[in-house]
């Protein structure tokens, strides 16, 4: 965990703390996590990212009470819940593949938790209809899960978890199995639910859009440990390591030598190419620039931005939504990647082999 985010946590005080994971260690088959610490504030939307096998799901399931800790404690609102069985924790979980009980109707699935609590039939029916309508699946209550689309199933699974008003809602890649349009609309739904219910949410994802539109805080995991934890801006623009930079789609990550250039600015030499950044670091550094920070033009721009490099377009790739343009800088051969819409490429009439300028601010250059 970065020192920055830890300080940030301490500043907010204990009272706001919802979930605290203290010195968590677990061994499960081949998986091992050691001395993991995490604090999540009440009402916070916390997103966990990290490569497959980082232990994200195991962390969630342990918070839910499924797996036993080897050492360490878990606190919920200051109460030690380490040895509490899952059914008493008040923590809900939603998996990527829905896990709707196939032998029950959608209505019975959603009411399942209320039934366990001995809530009366009328109350169950009323609350189930209420939450189902809110999530737009009110007309599906009599159907069985097998007959629903992925998006409908995930709405039902979310309804089943939130109907109990859990103190913490755990979401394990809830949007990953859905197509783009459905994912988009369900993401909005999650945002709305979070706003209305003030539930603390911990959400695992592989999708960057989730971070931008949902997260208050981002936790980066790798091989059973948390390697960075901070606000969206901190993690995305100021990644702690090259791994995070690559994982968060920073794209333009280079190694260089940093020397002070006065006025808080510094000059970074990347194989002969000099760019300016705002940093106090000296010596060998990594720099990262997000593709969307690069302004591409055919003529040199006159702007306040400190950095302007000239190069040749070597590749244009199109992923349907936006295009990525690879530009080889003329002095060092460093390849920059810029992102822009297909339309703007067409209107600027940029093609492979063209000479273009890339302009970016010194503050857009992240040194780490």
């Amino acid at each position: 965990m970065s020192s920055m985010s830890e300080n940030g946590n301490a500043d907010r005080g204990v009272s706001e703390n919802c979930l605290t994971i203290d010195n968590f260690s677990i061994t499960l088959g081949d998986f091992k996590a050691d001395n993991l610490n995490l604090k999540v504030n009440a009402g916070e939307y916390c997103i966990i990212i990290g490569p497959t096998g980082a232990g994200k799901t195991i962390l969630l399931e342990t918070i839910a009470g499924i797996h036993r800790l080897k050492t360490g404690r878990i606190y919920l609102h200051g109460r030690d819940i380490t040895d509490m069985p899952p059914e008493l924790r008040g923590i809900g979980i939603v998996y990527q593949d829905y896990m709707l009980f196939p032998h029950m109707t959608i209505g019975d699935n959603i009411a399942f938790g209320l039934k366990q609590r001995g809530v009366s039939m009328e109350e169950r029916v009323r609350k189930t209809a209420e939450i189902a309508n809110k999530l737009g699946i009110g007309h599906l209550l009599g159907r069985y899960p097998q007959t629903l689309s992925g998006g409908e199933k995930q709405r039902a699974a979310i309804a089943r978890a939130v109907i109990l008003r859990p103190e913490v809602l755990l979401l394990d890649e809830p949007l990953s199995a859905l197509d783009n349009t459905t994912r988009e609309s369900l993401r909005r739904e999650l945002k709305k639910l979070h706003k209305e219910m003030h539930t603390t949410i911990i959400h695992i994802t592989h999708h960057f859009e989730d971070i931008y539109s949902l997260a208050d805080r981002v936790v980066v995991m790798r091989e059973g440990s948390i390697i960075q934890c901070g606000s969206v801006d901190e993690v995305v623009r100021k990644p702690d390591s090259r791994f995070i930079a690559d994982f968060t789609g920073m794209e333009n990550v280079f190694s260089g030598i940093c020397t002070p250039a006065g006025n808080e600015a510094s000059e970074i030499d990347i194989d002969g190419l000099k760019i300016y950044a705002v940093s106090e670091r000296i010596g060998d550094v990594n720099v990262g620039i997000r593709p969307e920070e690069l302004i591409i033009s055919k003529e040199k721009l006159t702007s306040s931005a400190r950095n302007s490099v000239r190069g040749e377009v070597i590749k244009i790739t199109d992923n349907g939504i936006f295009s990525k343009i690879a530009v080889a800088e003329e002095i060092s051969g460093t390849v920059f990647t810029a992102a822009l819409t297909k339309q703007s490429i067409e209107s600027m009439n940029i093609g492979i082999g063209d000479t273009v300028y890339l302009t970016f601010k010194a503050t857009a250059v992240h040194v780490f």
Binding site: A64, G65, P85, E87, I93, M99, P102, H103, G113, L164
Partner: protein, 272 residues
């Protein structure tokens, strides 16, 4: 998905398919020969005879009881073997599979010695409090139970393994205890596999011969289950009665096969 090549003549294909058809034909001819051997009237007389009716009742009842006992042990045991790690699990697994390759006769003689009033301390203790198991219908139940439990554990294990444990995790977070989760989620989701396993166990119990012969004996009108009736009447030369018992066993097997096919049908697409 199977891909069939229909339009090309192939000697190889002809050979393989011909062999398969010959095997099926052999099966039909041989069983038809047995079924058609007694005259229809003789067969009806035999089926309605007191001895065969006794054998049917005894087989049905003992098989029902032993299957129930198997299920009582096998359901929790199979679940544990699927979900939990415990000390000695590997060894337990091997031991539980041993009876699968062991001739039931061996199980029968082991039971006989264990319960014998003269050969074992346990048997003599039972005799001292007036309980005698050997050569009684209780021995039939025990023999069937002993031989079939490992089969049932094995069959139920695969049914439980098909239920993704995340369903259970989800149920727990929704306020369900471990017991309730098992009853409300795991059992219903493993239902078709469980039913298939129970039906097969029952039919195996109906037909159990070796272990029952050793432990309960072949005593006419006392420990005479259907396989015993077949055996006893064969040794006394009453072939019609043997055939009557054999036909009943054949019909039961056929019905069980159809039932298992029916219940096991949706197994593959089940909630993985």
């Amino acid at each position: 998905m199977t891909i069939r090549t229909k339009h090309h003549f192939s000697l190889f294909k002809l050979f393989c398919t011909g062999t398969a058809l010959a095997a099926v034909l052999g099966l039909i001819v041989i069983f038809a020969g047995m079924v058609l051997y007694p005259s229809f009237n003789d067969l009806i007389d035999c089926l309605l005879s007191e001895e065969i009716r006794f054998a049917i009742t005894l087989s049905m009842v003992t098989a029902l009881i032993s299957t129930f006992l198997c299920a009582v042990i096998a359901i929790p045991a199979a679940y544990s073997m699927t979900r939990f790690d415990f000390f000695g699990k590997e060894a337990a697994n091997i031991l539980l599979n041993l009876p699968l390759s062991l001739p039931p006769l061996v199980a029968g003689i082991a039971l006989l010695i264990f319960f014998s009033p003269v050969l074992s301390p346990f048997g003599s203790y039972l005799a001292s409090i007036g309980i005698n198991i050997v050569y009684t219908s209780a021995a039939i139940v025990i023999a069937q139970f002993f031989v079939n439990t490992p089969y049932m554990i094995r069959s139920l294990r695969s049914s439980f393994a098909m239920v993704n444990p995340r369903y259970e995790h989800t149920a727990r977070t929704l306020g369900c205890s471990e017991w309730n989760t098992f009853v409300q989620v795991t059992l219903p989701m493993a239902k078709s596999g469980l039913i298939a396993g129970i039906v097969i166990t029952w039919s195996k119990a109906m037909g159990e011969f070796g272990a029952v012969l050793m432990f309960a004996g072949a005593i006419a009108m006392k420990t005479e289950t259907l396989p015993m009736a077949l055996f006893i009447n064969m040794t006394t030369g009453d072939i019609e009665k043997s055939v009557a018992a054999a036909i009943i066993l054949l019909v039961i097997s056929a019905v069980v096969l159809v039932a298992v096919e029916h219940f096991g049908k949706d197994k593959g697409v089940e909630y993985v």
